[in-house]
């Protein structure tokens, strides 16, 4: 097979991978924020639910989570298409790690900030939203960048539930052409490019936000 053909087939797969990342990443961020804030600020029973979510999704294999959502849930009457299953499984999985990022960033805001906001008589809600979170948010960006790259790499699992992502295309090409060197070389390169692009995006975001926050954050 011509090298150009290989690349064009793999690029189709890469587009699918990018689609999954583009949908799972926002889901992960939303989960991270919601459960991170519940974990920090809500009363005990809700906190327990958050802890269960975090520990369950961190403590079990992402592949098995994916299998559960795609292959097992139909037995309970919940059938979802492969793409949705992929986005949900990866979003929930990465979101669980993100929850700890949110918590860590909030807890890294100096105690004095919280005390000053009490002394100025801000309400509990104002303290969190106006004083603590704007400062914590900048601290979340670099670890979130790491998680985004983890997500890109984790998407290769979706090839196992019939989705034609980059890894899936690579494997089927390799099976038919046996040109494994070229194929997996290009695959490595494409994953690397995607990760680098995300890393750059997060760098820019961090820079932008630190500026908006009056150089309160990291430079």
């Amino acid at each position: 097979m011509e090298f150009g053909e290989i690349v064009s087939v793999l690029l189709q797969g890469a587009v699918v991978t990018i689609k999954i990342v583009a949908m799972a990443l926002p889901l992960a961020a939303v989960m991270a924020f919601i459960f991170g804030l519940i974990r920090l600020y809500s009363p005990a029973p809700f906190k327990q639910i958050a802890i269960f979510y975090i520990e369950f999704f961190r403590g079990t294999s992402a592949l098995i989570q994916l299998y559960w959502i795609y292959f097992v849930l139909p037995f309970f009457g919940i059938t979802i298409d492969a793409m949705t299953a992929a986005v949900v499984a990866l979003g929930l999985n990465i979101g669980a790690y993100g929850t700890e990022v949110v918590r860590g960033a909030v807890q890294s805001v100096p105690k004095g900030q919280y005390e000053a906001s009490i002394a100025l008589n801000f309400t509990a809600r104002q303290r969190v939203w106006r004083i603590i979170l704007p400062q914590a948010f900048v601290n979340m960006i670099p670890p979130f960048g790491n998680l985004a790259i983890e997500l890109v790499k984790a998407t290769s699992l979706v090839s196992l539930i019939t989705i034609g992502d980059l890894t899936f295309k690579a494997k089927s090409l390799a099976d038919t052409t046996l040109q494994v060197g070229e194929i997996f070389g290009v695959v490595l390169f494409l994953y690397f490019i995607m990760s680098q692009a995300l890393a750059l995006l997060f760098k820019l975001l961090e820079k932008r936000l630190s500026k908006g926050l009056g150089r309160g954050g990291i430079n």
Binding site: G112, E115, I118, A119, N121, G214, R215
Partner: protein, 257 residues
Amino acid sequence: MSTPIIEFKNVKKRFGDTTIFSDFNFTVEENEIVSIIGPSGSGKSTLLRILMTLEGIDGGYINVAGESLWHMYWQGQYVPANSKHLHKMRNHLGMVFQHFNLFPHMSVKRNITEAPMRVKGMSREEAEESAEKLLNLVGLADKADSYPNDLSGGQKQRVGIARALAMKPSILLLDEITSALDPELVDEVLDVIRNLVKEDSFTMLLVTHEMYFAREISDRVCFFDKGTIVEEGKPEEIFTAPKHERTKAFLNAYLGQ
């Protein structure tokens, strides 16, 4: 004699196994300026932090402006204060911190206007006008649009004072406000307090290691040791003729006399 504006009665405070106050009594009259001096770990800052509701108490009670600070009257009896009660009580109090605790993500102006606008519901125009006056008072009119991290320590602390004053507290708590500053920056901060006291009457409670300043500004000086007031009186008495041995030893060490 009028009712004191601050009153501690049999207050108990522990941190784990460490007892800070076992049975603490203390009063401050309205418009009185009281300095608290003493060795570290004697409970000086804890006293201010309890008043600012940053620390709870384990027993006794505290009145501020005629109302219980940590308790509220509910269905015929006193119960621990809820957040609404504490919110109301905090209106009386303002605090300036040793480490400034300015909000780094807000400009100097917003550091000063944010609480009056969000907490007191002041209009932006009103809050900014008041901030401008306060920045003039602390000599930082040209820094309104700077961010805290661009200021020197002394400038930060002057913003800290302006920020506390913007809420118009009737009681001002100053917690070692010059302890984190380089020596040459101490006076610019103390001068602000000197001017403040000259212009207006304040109830002020300050924990300080600046003995000369305490002597000059206070109506009363309290020497603290191990959670009790060992000796208190007019500044001249305490600084020139301390009666208690521990006060003498402390002042000797501090003033090198």
